[in-house]
Amino acid sequence: MSDAPSNRSDRLWMYTTMVKSRYFEALIKPAYFEGKTPVFNMAKGPLPGEMHLSDGQEPCAVGVCAHLRPGDTVTATHRPHHVAIAKGVDLDAMAAEIFGKASGLSGGRGGHMHLFDARVNFACSGIIAQGLGPAVGAALASKLRGEDHVAVAFLGEGAANQGAFHEALNLASVWKVPAVFVIEDNSYGISVAKRDCTAVERNSDRAAAYAMPGHFVAGNDADTVYRIAGEAIARARRGEGPSLIEIETCRLEGHFMGDAEGYRPKGEVDRLKAADPIPAYRQRLLADGFEAGELDKAEAEARAAVDAAFAAARAAAYPQPEEAFAHVFA
């Protein structure tokens, strides 16, 4: 594979991190439906509220985050699990947060759309394109302090039509900050297809309007994302300014759990599942000389970490209700 990164340990990490993320969500699925059957009611069960899964989008998270350190900032979206896991967010505390427990990242105040782990500079949000401004700010702070930290904002292709996207790109370029904007193009914003709401075929073309490099990454492949993201992040670290990357990916599940997905053409999900990027990547690694036993062992460790996180989250105590009043102000 000419495209394959030479760094063997990064490739193993990308694979196992994708497996970890996928397995994390595999455990969320049955837990989410607990208490929500036979009548689906979003308020019920141990995981109330909306739940946005990232199955299929793992290559975006790992290909980018493989280049990041704890000191780099990542802002993510309403669909945050894969990115959070790849950024090294504390898995136990993240699971506990999603279950609304006292031991969660935010003591249960934030939930699945509001995961914050200051230890690794990760945050996410439920408002479309909200993370871009903060990423520009984090990048400017790094620049002002003379550090080489970068900031990466993840967003969906639908978010590229939000005003904040355009304002943030312009600002990042004018200030020449070390920021990278990563669009996960899964073809849909809820029910609305990209082609029905976006004036350009590729959002990466929009980079030209803000005088920054724009890359389109086809194929939903971790190695390709790794290569392109590596260039953009290195460029930012060198102080040469921001970049925009759009990654062609796919959403294997509904927009949120319980979505009937009537807007999808027939057979689309089957087609996408047949091209699932994780088994495909495993095949590639095997073809490139990785041992099956080595991959199996790494997978098993990843799954065990997730199992442990879920077991602990389920067993953990809920916070005291009065805790609702803490942390409104510093």
Binding site: V39, F40, N41, M42, A43, L47, P48, G49, E50, G100, K101, G104, G107, G108, R109, G110, G111, H112, M113, H114, S125, G126, I127, I128, A129, G158, A159, N161, Q162, G163, A164, G189, I190, S191, V192, D196, C197, T198, G258, G262, Y263, Y318, P319, Q320, P321, E322, E323, A324, F325, V328
Partner: protein, 349 residues
């Protein structure tokens, strides 16, 4: 009167959810008035995340039922331009929490178009949005923000508590020459996946009818105290009133229906009769709907038999975890407890 042997023709009762009632009102008005169009995220193919536009795309086509990009500033701004150009746009932004990104188009543009132009240009548009929490969707998807909109001059703001009112209010809102913010509460919407307060599902006439945008309703008569609510809190107040009647307390319940304009006279008339006032809403407490209700009564100098009270969401963001969220949300238990306290002799001097 029909004679005993003649078969009585009774129109079959059509019980609709608020979602269905809204969609029906919009569809009927689109048929009647070619200037009406709907736009927003996921309103065409999907029929609205909360079912408010179900079936409209099939019936009216993509010119009049438009899915938009996630570009709220642009499409809500465009709605004000459409309105100025003589069209009657209905715009949906699915959660009130999302209005932060496009507030300028609403409070500086839609709300002021008529005034700034000295009445030359009007802004007949409806902005509909869902409000409310209680289902674990956390602090960017669970707010109500009634008072935020009620506070802004130039906007009318209505909140239906049941399907009958939803249809009549929507028809009135579309025909009104002003921007109307139409807030529907998720706990009442009748979407299967959200659970629904059954009382919000009502008989809805097929016919065209209007529910005034500026009139509160007495939905239960009583003599000992007045409970004032809107949207979901109307139902909580009714539940509380039912329980209180078992304790010998007769509570009158007012459904505000609209907060801008606010029907202060209806509230005052009731409190003049009962002498006690408790206002309930699920928006943040401070500077809120309850404060406005209490002020309306106090300013009128109405003699009260106990200090007026309000129950609202405390001044904190909406927490995700259900143990915290349900602890802070208003409910019928809290209303009953507050009323018992207000009815104690010591509270009445």
């Amino acid at each position: 009167m029909s004679s005993p042997d003649a078969p009585t023709v009774i129109a079959p009762a059509r019980r609709l959810t608020i979602a269905r009632a809204i969609a029906e009102a919009i569809g009927q008005e689109m048929e009647r008035d070619a200037t009406v169009l709907v736009m927003g995220e996921d309103i065409a193919k999907l029929g609205g995340v909360f079912g408010t536009t179900t079936g409209l795309l099939d019936k009216f086509g993509p010119e009049r039922v438009r899915d938009t990009p996630i570009s709220e500033t642009a499409f809500i701004g465009a709605a004000t331009g459409l309105a100025a150009a003589g069209m009657r746009p209905i715009v949906e932004l699915m959660f009130v929490d999302f209005f932060g990104v496009c507030m300028d188009a609403i409070y500086n543009l839609a709300a002021k178009q008529c005034y700034f132009s000295g009445g030359q240009v009007t802004c007949p548009m409806v902005l509909m949005t869902s409000v409310g929490g209680g289902y674990g969707d956390a602090g960017q998807h669970s707010q109500t923000l009634y008072a935020t909109f009620g506070h802004l001059p130039g906007l009318k703001v209505v909140i239906p508590s049941n399907a009958h009112d939803a249809k009549g209010l929507m028809l009135a809102a579309i025909r009104d020459p002003n921007p109307v913010v139409f807030m529907y509460h998720k706990a009442l919407q009748g979407m299967g996946w959200l659970g629904t307060v059954q009382r919000s599902i009502t008989d809805v006439p097929d016919a065209d009818y209007l529910v005034p945008l500026d009139k509160a309703k007495v939905v239960r008569e009583g003599k000992d105290l007045t409970l004032v609510g809107l949207g979901l809190s109307v139902h909580q107040a009714l539940d509380a009133a039912e329980r209180l009647s078992g304790e010998g307390v007769s509570a009158e319940v007012i459904d505000l229906v609209s907060i801008a304009p606010l029907d202060r006279q209806a509230v005052r008339a009731s409190v003049r009769k009962t002498g006690r006032l408790l206002a309930i809403d699920d928006d943040y407490l401070s500077y809120g709907v309850g404060a406005e209700i209490l002020a309306s009564v106090c300013e009128a100098g109405i003699a009260l038999r106990s200090a007026p009270q309000r129950i609202a969401f405390p001044d904190i963001p909406v927490p995700f975890t259900p143990v915290m969220e349900h602890f802070v949300l208003p409910n019928a238990d809290k209303i009953v407890a507050a009323v018992r306290h207000m009815m104690e002799p010591s509270a009445n001097d």
